[in-house]
């Protein structure tokens, strides 16, 4: 009997999910190569997003950033976000790496990536994962301004960005 190949049924595709919350830095190319290598089929498209530490926040110069997280819940939320992305788009694999601890200006903070057969799903899923990460993953940033550490306030814009996927 001829095997039927259903390319666009997300439920039938085996989606690889990688989530890591770590202090150490990451190398974008290595992470992308790794995600690509574990996909069940060759992804024709892989989109990625990297977030960096800015030197200005609301017009104020900052010298460093410290990120706190809730161990256990953070990973759980990131896996949930990844799985939800896989339900919305026909993905082959997803990747989220988020750092914590003290970071300097220009340092990499976060990497989100999605692999798919076609670019639209990869682009949209990456954006979706970032929008949900921003509002649902328990991380808190504290910015060093002069000698003070100031907790960053959540932005309403991030909430709006998430709601457009509903």
């Amino acid at each position: 009997m001829k095997k039927m190949k259903l390319l666009f049924s997300p439920l039938l595709l085996v989606v690889k999910v990688i989530v890591r919350v770590q202090e150490r830095n990451f190398v974008l190319q290595n992470e992308i190569d790794n995600l690509k290598s574990i996909c069940k089929e060759i992804p024709g498209a892989l989109a990625s997003f990297v977030g960096y530490v800015r030197d200005f926040s609301n017009g104020t110069k900052i010298s460093s950033l410290t990120i706190e997280h809730y161990p256990g819940m953070t990973e759980k939320m990131l896996v949930d976000i990844s799985k939800n992305a896989s339900k919305k788009w026909p993905l082959l694999g997803t990747l989220i790496i988020h750092r914590y601890g003290k970071l300097n200006i220009n340092d990499q903070i976060v990497l989100a990536a999605a692999a798919s057969l076609h670019r639209k799903a990869a682009f949209e899923a990456t954006e979706y994962m970032m929008d949900y990460l921003k509002t649902s993953a328990p991380f808190w940033k504290s910015e060093k301004v002069n000698k003070d550490n100031i907790w960053v306030k959540a932005k309403l814009d991030d909430e709006f960005a998430k709601n457009r996927w509903k």
């Binding site: 997280h69 809730y70 819940m73 903070i109 649902s136 993953a137 991380f139 960053v152 306030k153």
Partner: protein
């Protein structure tokens, strides 16, 4: 029950973890907040603006009317700011 605090809530309370026996009158998160506010002025101050406080029960987002048990892990924190 285990109570965790993060970000500025941890600083205001002066602790990141408190372990208490659930008082009989505490049934949901809001009851717990009322109980905690009576512990110290620091707690009172930390829970002053409930609009800027989120809560999780056993690592899942919850509401102020979520029911809680002795063995639960409750976490209080401000809206998240990662990414």
């Amino acid at each position: 029950m285990k109570i965790l605090y993060f970000s500025w809530l941890k600083e205001k309370v002066g602790n990141n973890l408190e372990e208490i026996r659930k008082p009989e009158e505490v049934h949901n998160i809001m009851d717990l907040i009322e109980f905690l506010k009576d512990i110290s002025n620091k707690h009172q101050e930390a829970f002053k603006h409930l609009k800027s406080i989120k809560v999780a029960v056993n690592k899942n987002f919850a509401d102020f009317d979520t029911l809680i048990n002795e063995e639960d892990e409750i976490a209080f924190f401000p809206p998240v700011t990662g990414g």
